[in-house]
């Protein structure tokens, strides 16, 4: 009895030791691998919208920005605008890059953010099946929505809503409001479906259901080119369809944000409004889609090529006649007087100096 027990116990112990070694070595090896690939850099966490993220724009921004500011490691957390703002309010993001002016104002007023800058814009579109069962092609957005509603009531089509409190969802709610309908009451209608997820998932749902939905142009082109969807653009113009992207730094004076990387946030903001950052917007997507997915706002202002459009952006996204009123600015250092052509490198020497400063005590010690 004793012999049998001890013999099997040893072999089992050997096998258990083997497993632990395999797991342990595997964990250490992968840890070493991961760490060797991740140089120690300062983290900058940006909570942002799914539309910017899914198109791949932010991946390109990260590469270009980090090439220039090698001490920063930018992390993008992709969420709907509503959640992105919540994340920053909790102090879990250093800055936000979003597209919902009304919510941005609340964020500033709550004392969570400073130094808002409008960086880019594009237009929302209404897409639907190519046979257009409700017949909305060429109508105004408001007419299109009421047509979809009556077709929905007849059971010939459906409307797919993002339903996730994103910037796109806010826009959709304001469009329903413009024809006197409250989106809250529509949720119970059988022709009104809430996807509750990102733009691609919503487009795919609309595609499966042969329904209509509101989308930003970038997400639509991406999915159309990937052959994920065969929905077509049906309504695509008008002031009410304007989509404006802004960036806001977390306010380091807020209790939750005292550890936030304010300097890093300001560097990214300056980069986005610099000539180089604006060109990034202007060129992204041209190769794949034949048009930019996001249009650079400061280039528009500089060229003054379309005063009417600039006025629309003012009407939609300005707060008391300014993109960021004086009381919401903090250590902005000329951010609001800066010429577009001013080279962004002007701030880089400060960053280098600060870096050197931060080394000095450790050298002494």
């Amino acid at each position: 009895m004793t012999r049998k027990v001890s013999r099997s116990a040893i072999t089992k112990r050997e096998s258990s030791v083997l497993i632990v070694i395999i797991l342990g070595v595997g964990a250490i090896a992968t840890y070493g691998y991961v760490m060797s690939r991740t140089p120690a850099r300062e983290r900058l966490i940006v909570s942002t919208t799914t539309s910017l993220y899914e198109t791949g724009f932010l991946d390109e921004l990260k590469v270009k920005f980090e090439a220039k500011y090698t001490n920063l490691n930018v992390s993008f957390i992709s969420q709907g605008t509503g959640l992105a703002i919540q994340t920053a309010m909790r102090g879990d993001a250093d800055m936000i890059l979003v597209h919902d002016p009304a919510r941005e104002v609340q964020f500033l007023q709550g004392g969570y953010g400073v130094n808002r800058k409008i960086v880019a814009y594009n237009f929302f579109i209404i897409v639907g099946p190519s046979d257009d069962p409700a017949g909305i092609a060429g109508k105004s957005p408001a007419e299109a929505l009421s047509t979809i509603k009556s077709a929905g009531l007849h059971g010939t089509t459906v409307w797919v809503s993002r339903g996730d409190d994103s910037g796109t969802h806010s826009k959709e709610k304001s469009l329903w409001k413009s024809i006197g309908l409250d989106a809250k009451n529509l949720r119970t209608e059988p022709w009104y479906l809430e996807a509750g997820s990102g733009m691609t998932a919503t487009l795919k749902l609309a595609n499966e259901k042969r329904g209509y939905t509101l989308t930003d142009i970038g997400s639509y082109l991406l999915n159309f080119n990937n052959q994920n969807i065969d929905l077509v653009k049906l309504v695509e113009s008008g002031k009410s369809m304007l989509n404006v992207y802004s960036v806001i730094a977390g306010d380091p004076r807020d209790a939750n944000l005292t550890n936030a990387n304010f300097e890093g946030s300001m560097m990214l903001i300056r980069y986005l409004v610099s000539n180089e950052g604006q060109d990034l917007f202007a060129n992204f997507g041209v190769k794949d889609f034949g048009q930019p997915l996001f249009k650079p706002y400061l280039k528009l202002v500089e060229s003054n090529s379309d005063p009417e459009l600039i006025q629309w952006i003012h009407d939609l996204a300005f707060i008391d006649g300014s993109e960021c009123p004086q009381q919401y600015r903090y250590n902005a250092d000329g951010l609001y007087s800066m010429q577009l052509t001013a080279p962004v490198l002007a701030v880089a020497p400060f960053a280098v100096l600060r870096k050197i400063e931060s080394w000095i005590p450790s050298v002494k010690a």
Binding site: T11, K12, S16, E54, T200
Partner: protein, 223 residues
């Protein structure tokens, strides 16, 4: 499907990075959990105390805890505005490791406790008669029931390796930092990159299956 296989064979460094980070978080999380879960299971299996059955019931019930619920609670704890916010763990691999180690603890505790309980009761008496201390007795029984304990650890590893909720909520699915196989699959599906999702899911399955096969091979000599 062919594209998916091609993507695996092309050896994209980012895919390997994602897979190795998945192995790292699940492996470390499981091992970390073992440091407290196996002792707890030994006490639970081999000692009699008031409330033991209730405690065992609680651990059994916690096996099925939804990952999103646990992820949410830990998010609130680890958030900068939460009680452990000053450690700045949120959106780092460490946050995922902590979350997964807590997630799999009930699995290790319950499974290995029942393995220890079913170990030959004579063995315990024998060890005691031979003058073993409490701790030594535990050691003997854990060795005897080692296969059951290993199975418990494997089940825990597989659960950690394949879960999505914690990795998404605590890691944030940040490219190059906290993107794991499961969060990458969720993202690429949301992005409409189905071929890439399928490729990643194959890797996920292949690793899960080969870990189980490796463990079974290790067992063979004893039978």
């Amino acid at each position: 499907m062919i594209r998916a296989v091609g993507l695996i064979l092309s050896g994209d460094p980012e895919v390997y990075r994602i897979a190795s980070l998945s192995l790292y978080t699940a492996g470390t999380g499981t091992l970390l959990s073992c440091t407290w879960s196996i002792p707890i299971s030994a006490v639970l299996a081999l000692r009699n105390f008031y409330g033991k059955r209730v405690l065992k019931g609680l651990f059994n019930a916690a096996i099925g805890i939804p990952t999103v619920a646990l992820g949410l609670y830990l998010y609130l704890v680890l958030s900068r505005s939460g009680p452990l916010g000053s450690f700045q763990f949120l959106y780092t691999p460490n946050a995922i490791i902590i979350g997964q180690s807590i997630l799999v603890s009930p699995i290790v505790v319950s499974f290995s406790a029942s393995a220890l309980e079913s170990a030959d009761p004579e063995l315990r008496d024998l060890a005691r008669t031979l003058g073993a201390s409490d701790l030594q007795t535990y050691g003997v029984i854990i060795k005897e029931a080692s296969w059951g304990v290993i199975l418990a650890v494997m089940a825990a590893f597989n659960r950690a390796f394949g879960e999505l909720g914690i990795a998404m909520m605590l890691g944030g699915n940040i490219r190059y930092v906290t993107r794991l196989l499961t969060t990458a699959i969720a993202l690429e599906t949301a992005r409409g990159e189905i071929a890439l999702s399928i490729a990643l899911s194959f890797i996920l399955l292949a690793i899960t299956v080969s870990v189980s096969v490796a463990v079974n091979l290790a067992r063979k000599p004893t039978s």
